[in-house]
Amino acid sequence: MSVVRRSRAFVGRQPAPLIAGVVLLAPFLFVTLVPGILATHGPLSIEDRPLLGPSAQYWLGTDEIGRDLFSRSLYAARNDILVSLSSAFVAFTIGTAIGLFAGYVSGRIDTIVMRIVDVLLSFPTIVLALFLIVVFGRRQWVQILAIALVMMPSMARFSRGTGLVLRNRGYVEASRIAGASRWQILRHHVLPNSLPTLLVAASVLASSAVLISASLSYLGLGAQPPDPSWGNMLRAAYGVVYQAPLYGIGPGICVTIVSGAYILIGEGLRRKFRTDRNVGASAATVGTI
């Protein structure tokens, strides 16, 4: 069979939410890598009079200085997608490592780890991130780490639950009897079997990350002007809501679509792996921030 047909068959077999999520996310990923192609204008160049409404030339209109809103929305993706994916990745890997291990070994280590997580969880999320950024600076890597730190405890808690459940599975006990070491079991049995569930949690994490990053930008702690980020564009939109009410539509839709796409991908992955007798979870029961 030709490559085209085979790939089409492959795609057809995937669950609908997965396809929808990938389709929605793709343009933004594309833009992150190669922004020039889709954007109609440059993000920083002043094109025309400020606050024009949407038109054929400026698809979403112009902002308060006269820059093209559509292009700025797209370029903002570079910042927001990068920050959200990176922080989600960091939170996922570290949180999972800690949580899965704690849940699996149970006992005292588990109790200690969970107490620490509890304390971290009781700090209000945005406040902590806010605080860290103010103290350590507004650089991008600070943003990423701050958001990751804020999301890590919930990931740890979630993966701990998974570890705890898998600990009691028959095949884990059988491996213990056969003489497997803790690490061998974690590597060969616990991790592979928990991955589908954890991936769903990761998608929720990414979705939260986008929202948190946008919120921080909105408060002025994200990308600094003149660089565009969805958050600071929305802040500007607020100021001119009576004059140009449609200003905020673009960036807001972008955030919503990206955030939603992550969730859809997660839901799709869950459906895809549901046939296996793994630890089940739905994106609905994994809390948001």
Partner: protein, 686 residues
Amino acid sequence: MPGALEVDGLSVTYRAGRTLVHALDDVALTLPPGHRMAIVGESGSGKSTLGLAVMGLLPGNAAFSCQRLSIDGTAIDLRNTKQLRSLRGNTVSMVFQDAKASLDPVRTVGSQIAEPLRVHRVVPKRDIGHEVERLLRDVEIKRPTQTARQYPHELSGGMRQRAMIAAALAGRPTVLIADEPTSALDVTTQAAVIDLIGRLGQSGTMSALLITHDLALVAGFADSVTVMYAGRIVETGSVDEIYSAPAHPYTRALLASIPSLFGDRNRLLGSIPGAVPDLNLRLPGCVFEPRCAVGRGREICRTVAPPMIAVGGGGQARCHFPGEQAAIPTDVVVPVAISSSRAEMTTPTVELRSIVKSFHRKSMTRGRRSRTVAVNGVDLVIGAGESVGIVGESGSGKTTLARVLVGLEVADSGEKMIRVGDALVAVTRLPKDYVQFVFQDPGDSLDPLMSVGDIIAEPLVLRDGGRPNRYRNQVAALLDDVGLRVEMAERRPLELSGGQRQRVAIARALSTQPKLIIADEAVASLDMSARGQILNLFSRLQAEHGFAYLYISHDLSMVRHVCDRVVVMYGGRVMESASTDDLFVGPRHPYTQALITAVPVPDPRVERQRERMAIRGEANDEAPTTGCAFRARCPIAQDICAEEVPRLDTTSSHGVACHFADQAASLYERVSVDAEIVPAERVHHG
């Protein structure tokens, strides 16, 4: 005289995604008034669906058609929800399997029993409280007032089930349907509850319909039996006829596959090859034909669906050749050495001394930090090549003991000794290939992401290193050993049936040539027809490979067939230890006696004459830790039983841990049935 329940032409189809599952196919039955009928079948037989359908409780994705349904002469329209609602809990009521899940955990037991009273206005409002207590007394609950105010989780399993029965009786129904009411209960409790339902069904005003998979249970309960297979009724008849002269090959094969307390315990259990067919296919011909010893391959059985034919004694069978005899396959070639290997008893392979293991539970229902002693000083000796069975009910500590033995739990105190050369050496950790374990649930004990071959090779990889590929030859040999095709190595566990998965688990256990294999309820989650295969497999493998075998179970009949020596546990202690023959012919501990008299026997005549040994209460994990563990329930307990722990005499071959063993023996003689009664001529074995 209209039947209490009459069904005709009932068919039910479930829609699961894009597939249709034909759960019931043109089912008809008649339940006379004041009659006790049992509906028997394995998984996929449709028996539960039948019960739900009659009550109109089918889930939303079920499509059904019914030619006629009437209760006590009144026609019922299954699509008339109003009519159904007025009948449910009123004229026909149902008792479900798991009482813990079938009672609302946030409401008191009394309020739930009161529900049908209220809804159907059985008694005036002010009398509801009294009526609830009266019902609880009817189901033999001693403190009805107190129990009514308790929540389901505060009651024991047996009491919960009785409460459910009370709620079902509230509306004074004509028909009581009980769907596997005792599967979740212990043997001794099960006997009491079934007796209760049986008595209620005999009262003349109410008929009882018992839905179960347990053929032994049915023998003592039912007046008539209906056998179901793959959504169809394949045989009906009086209970005596069914057990003495079953007409349908399926019934006969089923009866041959169940172990019994009486009869030749060395016979191989019958089994039915193959598996229950996919219920979404509708093939021509007899649905049982592919597995039928009589009809397999026969032209007419393959092409024409058999009608119900009248057979002797007023029964009917859906078969072209009812009553025809054929050899029941036991699917295993029996090596001659099978009996002799069982008699060997030389140097012990494993010895446990004074094992004590307790747990600190943090569960919310029992308060924090409660300490339960699961194993309270147990000694155990297993000889080379010996097959030992440990029986006990819930809370006996048998599973914990096994887990301590194999290293999954660490004992609080006591010694574990294994054989090194000619001597016994105490160890804290077992060598990797000394003991292996087969778990109860094969779906849980096999990693769903690994291939069968990798699963079987894992112990070898862990012991000798390398990658699974290195052991391909051994894996192939093992697969062959357990009766699976070599190509299975590439498959995943999810593609296999329950019996096949258990064979994979056994192959894995064999891979490192262990000295001892422990099987913890290894067949409990399999269908009755598949159990025989696995047990026979164990016997053959043991004869060929010579490992010692520890079989943990609550099922006494099963243990009797499989083991040479039996250890009875209760409340974390050993009550009695003896060879199988000695134990079952002459049990000397009151608990053993109670157990044996409670186990149902698949022979109606025996069951009718049996008397049960009287003990109080239920098995749970709250047995006293001082003195004799059994004293709270023992009919002959006295003061000394609370003060002194009765010691098991380990030197004698039949040890009893009881201060009054002689008294128990005489008590038992009055109650027991002569074990020499051999059931009438049944099936031949190949």
